[in-house]
Subunit: 285 residues, 2 copies
C-alpha cells in the first residue's frame, strides 16, 4: 500500500509486453461447440495456458482452486455419461480440465507450518468459485488468442458427487465445471455470444429494475441469434432455456440438492476442518 520500492519495480521485473486493445476481440468471442477431433494441442501448451490464467487476481493471494487435467479417454467418457445431457465436447476436444474449488491445499499449507486451518464452508464455496473462475477465464483468453476454442461444461453439476468420486477427489475439493480446449471444427468460433443489452447489466449509481421495454429488448436481442447460434435449432427461444434453468422444475432446483449432497460428500460441512476423506463422509448423510 505504501510506495516502498515501487520506483524500481520496473527495472526489477521488466516492462510488461504490449498488446493491442483487446476489447473488440473479447466482445467478439463465443464458446466453441464443435471441435476438430483429429487436431492435437501439445501438453506443454496446456501447461502454458494454465500458467498464464492463474495470474488472475486471487483473494489474499490464497489461490483456492485446482485444475484436474483428465487425459484418460475412458474417464472423459464416464464424465460425459454422468453429465446426463449431450456434452460430447468432453470427448471431442483436445483437452479436458475440471475446474475445482480447492481448500485442501490451504489446509496442507497451514498444517505444514504448524498453524491451524478452520473451515468456513459458505465463504469457501463463494471465494473458491470466484478465484477458480477468474483463473479459468484467463486460461480461456490465452487459449483463444492462439486460435483454439473453449467450451465450459456446467452440466457436471447434474451429477456432481458421482463426478467427484469418479475423479477420486478428496475432501476439500469441489468440482465446478469442465473446460474443453480444442481446435474449432469450423476454423473459429464465429457465432458470437448473444447477450441482453448492456443497460440490463450495467447499473449506474444504483440498481434499477428493468422496465417492460428493457425486458422486451432482452428477449429480442437474445432470440435474434439464440436458437441456431447456441443449439443449431432456429425454433428454440430463450424463455425456454430460462425456464429450464430457473423454473420450479428447472436444472437449478434439481441441482440444488445435488450440490448440497456433493458439498457434504466433499467435507464442506464437517464440523471443523476438511481432513476426513470424502469417501468416509458419504456414509454420514
Amino acid at each position: 500500500m505504501t510506495g516502498t520500492g515501487s520506483s524500481d519495480r520496473a527495472t526489477r521485473y521488466g516492462e510488461r509486453l504490449e498488446v493491442p486493445d483487446l476489447a473488440p476481440w473479447l466482445a467478439s468471442r463465443a464458446t466453441v461447440r464443435e471441435f476438430d477431433t483429429e487436431a492435437t494441442i501439445s501438453e506443454s501448451e496446456v501447461r502454458e495456458l494454465v500458467d498464464a490464467g492463474r495470474k488472475a487476481p486471487t483473494s489474499g493471494t490464497t489461490q483456492m482452486y485446482s485444475f484436474v487435467w483428465v487425459r484418460d479417454q475412458s474417464v472423459r467418457e464416464q464424465i460425459h455419461d454422468l453429465c446426463d445431457r449431450g456434452t460430447v465436447q468432453i470427448e471431442e476436444a483436445s483437452h479436458f480440465l475440471v475446474v475445482c474449488i480447492d481448500l485442501r491445499r490451504i489446509e496442507h499449507l497451514l498444517t505444514h507450518r504448524n498453524r491451524e486451518f478452520q473451515l468456513a464452508p459458505t465463504m469457501g464455496v463463494l471465494e473458491g468459485s470466484i478465484d477458480a473462475s477468474l483463473a479459468a477465464m484467463g486460461i480461456m483468453v490465452a487459449a483463444e488468442s492462439r486460435g483454439y476454442g473453449v467450451c465450459p461444461i456446467g452440466n457436471i453439476l447434474n451429477n456432481l458427487g458421482a463426478i467427484a468420486s469418479t475423479l477420486d477427489l478428496p475432501s476439500g475439493v469441489l468440482p465446478l465445471y469442465g473446460l474443453c480446449i480444442g481446435v474449432p471444427k469450423h476454423g473459429e468460433a464465429t457465432e458470437n455470444a448473444p447477450r441482453v443489452p448492456l443497460d440490463a447489466v450495467l447499473h449506474e449509481d444504483g440498481y434499477e429494475d428493468p422496465s417492460t421495454e428493457l425486458l422486451e429488448e432482452c428477449y429480442r436481442s437474445m432470440n435474434a441469434m439464440y436458437g441456431e447460434s447456441v443449439y443449431g435449432d432456429s425454433t428454440r427461444e430463450w424463455q425456454e432455456t430460462l425456464e429450464r434453468y430457473w423454473g420450479p422444475e428447472g436444472f437449478m432446483n434439481r441441482r440444488e440438492r445435488t450440490l448440497l449432497d456433493a458439498l457434504r460428500q466433499q467435507g464442506f460441512f464437517a464440523a471443523r476442518g476438511i481432513d476426513e476423506r470424502a469417501d468416509e463422509n458419504t456414509t454420514q448423510p
Copy 2:
C-alpha cells in the same frame, strides 16, 4: 450441437479479429494498488470494457450478474469505510464497479413472460459467482490491454449487508467484490503476481496432495516476492496471510456469519422466489 448453419456463420457474423499470443502477457499481469488520482477514463470507455467482458461464458446464457457503477464519491467513501481495512483504491481509482450476483433480473424476465421463477439459493450463489467472475475477468483483461490497472476489492465481504444497504440493492442481488479501474500511478503494474508452482495447482489424471517438498516450494516461491510486492513490506511472509484468511480467527470465518446474514437480507433464503424487498427481510432473522 448439430452442424446446421455452421458453414455460413463466418459470412454472417464476420471473421474474428487477430490478436497475438496472449499467454506471456497474461502471465505477466498483476493487480495495481496505486492509482494516478489525477487521471481520467471516459465513461464511454467503461461501457466498452464492461460490454467486452460480459461476452465471457455464462451458464445456459442466463447471465446471472450485474455491475453497479458507483460514481458518487461520497458513496465510494462510505464503502471504503465499511470495508474496514485500507482499500483506498476504492476512492483513488478512476472508476469503481461493484460486481454482483443478480438472480432478480432472471425472475423479472420469467415473470414478464408469465412463467414461474423458483429460487435455488446455493446454486444461485455458486453459478452467480462463477458467471460474474468470468465476466469480471474479461473486463479486467480489456482494461489492462488499454494500459489501465485493476484492483479487485474483496474486503467488501467484511461488511456485506451494510454495503448492500448503502447501495440500496434489492432482494436477489448480492455484492461480491469491488472492481477498481484506473491509471497506474507508476505507469504500469510491474510487480507480477506471486503464485505457488504450477504443479501445486494443475493435477494430471487425478488429484494429488502436495508433497512436503512441494509445500516448501510453495512458501519459497510466494515469499520470494511476497511482502514488498503485495504489501510494500519486505518483512511480511505468506503464512501470516494464509492464517489471517483461513485460521480459526481469520477473515474467512468472521465473514462466514456476515455472508450468511447478507444472503438472508438479500432474500436468498426466502421460501420461494426473491420477491420480498431486502429491507423487509432484515426484520425476519
